[in-house]
Symmetry: C2
Subunit: 211 residues, 2 copies
């Protein structure tokens, strides 16, 4: 049997190709996926702080030790998909038209990523509710975004963007993503994430000019 787990921010799809195992394996397959689901449920039910790793492991039918073999710590289970978003954005920056300015390159990348989230609004909202309910989780979210900003800056440097501009553009891009994302999950208004991102870039131009 082969198990392929596709993980996106907070969401994982386990593609289990049941080659119809001769009989039964020693353990239920996809313990990692079960852990993710159990954690997501429990964090939603009781909140992150009042959920123990023991409870997650129990619901998933494994031991605590197995939890820590799959996830570095109790928070990381909610961010397992962050690497994928980063790859997506870095690639999009890399693939932007060669003559696009730095800000234009990240604008295109973020708008593209926004489209990805637009189909997952309810899920994103649930996840965001969990995260904002815990200081620890917000810390982890911030460091993931900071890493992302650094990766974007690197992608820009590989496009030939010089250094004060590359770092600054990366940081600004992430700030815009964060603000747009927050307003998108908080509002019930119709605007999509992509639209909000694009509007934020316009707003940035106005704000930055006002000196």
């Amino acid at each position: 049997m082969s198990v392929t787990v596709i993980t996106l921010p907070g969401m994982s799809v386990a593609v289990i190709s049941h080659r119809y195992d001769s009989f039964m394996a020693r353990w239920e397959p996809d313990s990692r996926g079960r852990l993710e689901q159990a954690a997501f449920e429990l964090y939603g039910e009781r909140g992150f702080d009042r959920t123990t790793v023991a409870a997650i492991a129990e619901r998933a039918g494994v031991t605590e030790r197995t939890f820590f073999r799959h996830f570095a710590d109790k928070r990381e289970i909610l961010f397992a998909g962050a690497g994928m978003l980063q790859d997506l954005l870095v690639e999009a920056v890399h693939d932007a038209p060669p003559d696009a300015s730095p800000i234009e390159a990240v604008r295109l990348a973020l708008a593209g990523a926004g489209a990805f989230f637009d189909g997952r609004r309810e899920f994103s909202r649930h996840r965001q509710t969990i995260i904002v309910g815990s200081e620890e989780l917000r810390e982890r979210e911030l460091i993931k975004l900071a890493t992302l900003a650094a990766a974007l800056a690197d992608a820009l440097r590989r496009r030939g963007v010089a250094d004060p501009a590359a770092g600054l553009t990366g940081e600004v891009a992430i700030a815009i993503f964060r603000l747009s994302f927050e307003s998108w999950v908080a509002d019930d208004a119709a605007a999509t994430l992509s639209e909000r991102i694009i509007a934020s870039f316009d707003e940035l131009r106005v704000v930055a000019a006002g000196t």
Copy 2:
């Protein structure tokens, strides 16, 4: 005897006015200051991760329990002064000329705060070395800065700045502060923090215009 502790980011000065106590108090005074110093030393010697709270408490001559009465957790001891920087900046934004644009207001505030740090470069460098050496500490630093960004945005709203602009300006200001601070502690070049901050705002105008 009266003990006044003046705390700045990572640095605390205990002003002990020895009114020459009748005799000796029950414990050595300023346990909080001794804890800060012990922690700072040990984090520098062994790194944050390999320093236990027990070791800090022992060097400071108190019990572990006392550590946690003064500081919420092992990281917070390095950030006890963050509130002061925030008050400084918020006040500076509040006091900016009424006709200053949002970006101009935060620019003035940050440049002023930069001047404050300029006299503490070696100390800032030491502290920064400790922080970048630990993922946990970087997380804490990021959430402190995010809080600061929110406080700046609030200060701008009180100046009458409308909402997409206020939030965005706050975030951008903090991004600039962070980048400038990092380059200031990393470089040996002569430029002061304030100068770097001002240069970053100029850079921002150029970057943001390039759409």
